[in-house]
Symmetry: C2
Subunit: 401 residues, 2 copies
């Protein structure tokens, strides 16, 4: 009988030092200020190894010694804290109607957050690359002025992104098989830092998992409430992308075989009956200027306009059916509604929760809560920066500058 590798997968055999560097860096991130002896005691690494690893992290200015010492019997221990002041991680989100850029330091402190409007639906992928490259260059220049080295860039796109970073299909941008990662690297003229491309929902889920109010929740699903609806799925503390990286495509699961026609040509897709387009269409508002129209929807809902309340209840019930699918199949602790769902959450959530509770087989919906994101429209860009920091935490350390 053939047997195969299952759990655990504690480390690449090949790269124990990188893993150990990551273990020490994470320990300092979580327990600073702490001493080398603390690290050795908690990680099981021997003291000589810890000293060597810490020296490496100090050389890279990821960790620094403080003046503090610990009060204890014997020789006082020098305490370590996270440094990272000379670094920046950059995240960018390209969406149908805006581009967002965020830079954070190693501790996650936001260094800048820019948003500009964008005509994603009408320009070509090449034009989009030029626009994004121009913004990234400005961010990099700003960071250079602050004497920060850029650790990496991750760009979020609303579409299917392969594990190699190719955008296979981004329907709302009209892109197909776009090598965004390669083209952007070229446009930036080999910038000296890694460039990654990911699905926007995946990055937003990473942002919530690292920076949001529910940070650290083991099982968390983020739903982008844009013109399209995608899911970012974190299970057991890590993003789950599936075999080819195409997981999280909840927008085109069919909720109702007799439902409204979706732009994909099918009937009753979640996106068609529970996306923001459904809100605007039922409210007889044009989806051309989503944000302006949404402001109007919110105003009418606040004024208890019965037609708008009925529309939001219907969309909420449909969205709840989709959330129930997630809860039954994945049993997350929390589903986070993002994007344009956030301003509508007060009116959507009661219906979402009713459907969730009515449709889950586990008692109390398996403990699944539904909340609105607090990270705003920059969630995916912030998640791009989180993905860069995750790479560092995984042992892909910056070169010594």
């Amino acid at each position: 009988m053939i047997t195969s590798t299952t759990d655990p997968q504690p480390a690449d055999f090949a790269d124990v030092r990188a893993t150990n560097l990551a273990v020490v860096l994470r320990f300092v991130r979580e327990h600073a200020p702490c001493s080398r002896a603390d690290i050795a005691a908690s990680t099981g690494l021997n003291k000589a190894t810890v000293s060597s690893l810490v020296a490496d992290l100090i050389d890279r200015r990821l960790v620094r010694e403080t003046g503090l010492t610990e009060n204890r019997v014997g020789r006082p221990a020098t305490m370590l804290v996270l440094d990272g002041s000379p670094y920046a991680a950059i995240g960018v989100e390209v969406n149908v109607d805006y581009v967002t850029a965020v830079a954070v330091d190693l501790s996650g402190e936001r260094l800048l957050s820019w948003r500009r409007s964008f005509s994603g639906a009408t320009i070509t992928a090449a034009q989009a690359v030029a626009t994004v490259a121009a913004i990234v260059r400005r961010v990099v220049n700003r960071m250079a002025k602050e004497e920060r080295q850029v650790l990496g860039l991750a760009v979020g796109v609303p579409g299917l992104v392969g594990t190699d970073g190719t955008v296979r299909i981004a329907p709302n941008l009209g892109w197909r098989d776009a090598d965004l990662c390669g083209d952007l690297t070229k446009a930036l003229r080999d910038p000296g830092f890694p460039v990654q491309v990911d699905n926007d929902a995946n990055l937003a889920a990473l942002a919530e998992h690292r920076f949001g109010p529910r940070a650290g929740t083991a099982n968390l699903v983020y739903l982008t409430g844009e013109i399209g609806v995608g899911a970012g799925v974190v299970l057991d503390g890590r993003l789950r992308r599936g075999g080819q990286g195409y997981g999280g495509e909840i927008g085109h699961i069919q909720l109702d075989p007799l439902g409204a026609e979706c732009r994909c040509g099918r009937l009753g897709c979640l996106e068609a009956v529970a996306g923001i387009g459904a809100v605007l269409e039922h409210a007889a508002l044009s989806p051309a200027e989503v944000e302006i129209e949404l402001d109007e929807v919110v105003r009418l809902a606040r004024a208890a306009d019965p037609r708008i309340l009925a529309v939001l209840a219907t969309v909420g019930h449909n969205l709840g059916k989709g959330v129930a699918v997630i809860a039954n199949l994945l049993n997350p602790e929390v589903v986070i509604l993002g994007g344009y769902y956030v301003p509508l959450a007060p009116w959507l959530l009661p219906a979402v929760e009713a459907e969730l509770r009515g449709r889950t087989i586990a008692p109390d919906a398996g403990g699944c809560q539904v909340v609105a994101s607090t990270l705003g429209y920059g969630a995916a860009a912030l998640g791009g920066a989180a993905r860069v920091l995750d790479s560092v935490d995984s042992g892909r350390l910056p070169r010594i500058s």
Copy 2:
């Protein structure tokens, strides 16, 4: 800004030795025969540590030295192979109409495989415990005669099993909040090995992931084709249970708001329109004796009975809608149809694949294949044994006897 732990999670800080034992054991499992020097070179552990770890594994008779030596310059190296001959892992499945027991050795070789019919729907949980305990005692006695120590027992149940091993609801068995794990441990009079309880689909997925033709596939979903339909979800090489352990409940996601009534009271649940009950009901056969009736369905399908072929096509299309939900949300490499779906697979699969391809947004269904299980009705029991072996591989080593 608050930051939190994300990837990687290379090891419990607390238990580096257990992790290292597991690393060495897995290396020997995959690369035997191999030398201590091979292990040191590939794992990055130093030679003294490897020698100490190997000694520990030899003491526990998990690994043994062979007479073989490696041809190389210098002192000949003694080669190591997996031992485990004195051990057995036991898996049991309790289902509506049968109980299955399987025992395997450390390499996964099947030592015994028993199946007996059972009246799960009519007896109480206490009677079921007595029946299962009697079977387990017989297995343990048989193993004792072979001078094997039992490493552990894992029992699969068709229902919601909490992370603590409590069976919250097993609708088709009529159980609710049954402490199967505790009651079974008592009935076995503290047997000296750990007892675990899990959902049957979860265990079957583990069996496929460890022993099936697609063993080692990173992203794999198993669907139990019993009276109920559950999913076992393996993503990135590990079973994903969700926050409370209730993941995989695909049976009650709604495929059609106007569909047939499910035993749960809702309309158009996957279980109601794509379960084996739907096959038998549409074929106007009684579900009382599932296996006998299924034989009749297969006979009629082979004879190209038009009514039966239409029934199987309908059920296949419904099942395909459910598989498409899985493919869109999780993008697995393979979905494996188990249980009673296996004999019907030749007639179900074309419809399943048509729906899968038509309903997934990723090109070529994101590479997702649908296949019938080859592990038979014992899949969940075999998965119980796999779960016990996984515990050993994770460093929970048997005591030295």
